[in-house]
Symmetry: C2
Subunit: 200 residues, 2 copies
């Protein structure tokens, strides 16, 4: 089941460093790409930062629409995440087969509450973002900043402001942490730490 | 054993989203703080981004010196990471006991090859960074960008450009992925994915 995440706690969806999928739509076109380079940027109002290379079609749609969605995929989707990171939506649409990434990979979506960017089914969390235009960052660093307008999570794995992964969790629902060359980690063991105390 | 990491592959030290420690030094003062909000920003020359709140003493030292180091801690250090994230170096130095965070927590360091920022022993990777001043980002978003000048990793867990965590790895050496409230994940199972193929 999908439930809204309190905006004040939405940073926790990204705090542990998952690889994400960035989706965007404009003028009847839509696309989705993988992005390991993302982070939370502020608590209230919540903001996030993500790197979108100039070669990506998603970036063009983000700049045109002023909106994007961060989808947090899980292990069951690793093959799709890798493909969405390797294949450009622009190339795909130019090839003989036609159809966007969603159609070609058989990806189902649901509507965001803000903006047109589609949300990908099967992910475990989603952040709907309004682009905060920063032309210098975008041009010089490919760095995009968004204010989080709504956030959602799969209640099987995120509830009461915390990821609930434990020994009984379905391993296929664990978040993905990409390195390079098709090599991923799934998020691992949860534990509580006690803060060390300063010595005199 | 510690070995240099090829600068072109240094982004892989952060790509899977670990929580890091940021260290800095200036004028005989030094400090270190926890930062879950960090990401790689470019491949060549390698750049990284990290969020440093205005309240932090580390930020003051970064701005004064133009250098900082990203230390990637491991599970064995979780209690120290939590403490370094909760306690301000400024408060610590003002209290009756005196001494900086390194002295008070009994933390050993080694020298960076660029700049004065100390590198924390016991971590599993290190990135030495030169601050790329971006006054608007720093003031408005607490966002700091650094160019990676040198990178190092513990060869027990990172070799030939990849994290080598497997069933035989010491669990205490796994990277930390912080959520909130003392709640961490260790990085989990490694796996290779095959990219999904587009359907016709």
């Amino acid at each position: 089941m999908r439930a809204a995440v309190d905006l004040a706690q939405s940073y926790r969806l990204l705090n542990h460093g998952p690889t994400v999928l960035v989706s965007a739509a404009h003028g009847g076109q839509r696309n989705i790409m993988a992005a390991a380079w993302n982070m939370a940027l502020d608590f209230a109002p919540p903001k996030i930062a993500v790197v979108l290379d100039k070669s990506t079609y998603t970036r063009e749609l983000v700049e045109a629409s002023g909106h994007f969605c961060i989808n947090v995929p899980c292990r069951a989707q690793a093959g799709v995440v890798l493909a969405l990171g390797q294949l450009s939506g622009r190339e795909l649409q130019a090839d003989a087969e036609g159809g966007d990434k969603f159609a070609r990979f058989g990806l189902n979506t649901f509507a965001a509450s803000h903006g047109e960017a589609p949300l990908l089914q099967g992910c475990v969390a989603w952040l709907e973002c309004r682009l905060m235009p920063e032309p210098r960052n975008q041009q010089l660093y490919d760095l995009f900043i968004g204010e989080v307008a709504a956030a959602w999570a799969d209640t099987r794995v995120f509830a009461d402001g915390h990821w609930r992964y434990d020994d009984r969790s379905d391993p296929a629902l664990r978040t993905l942490h990409y390195v390079a060359g098709g090599h991923f980690f799934a998020i691992g063991e949860a534990f509580e730490a006690q803060a060390a105390r300063p010595q005199r």
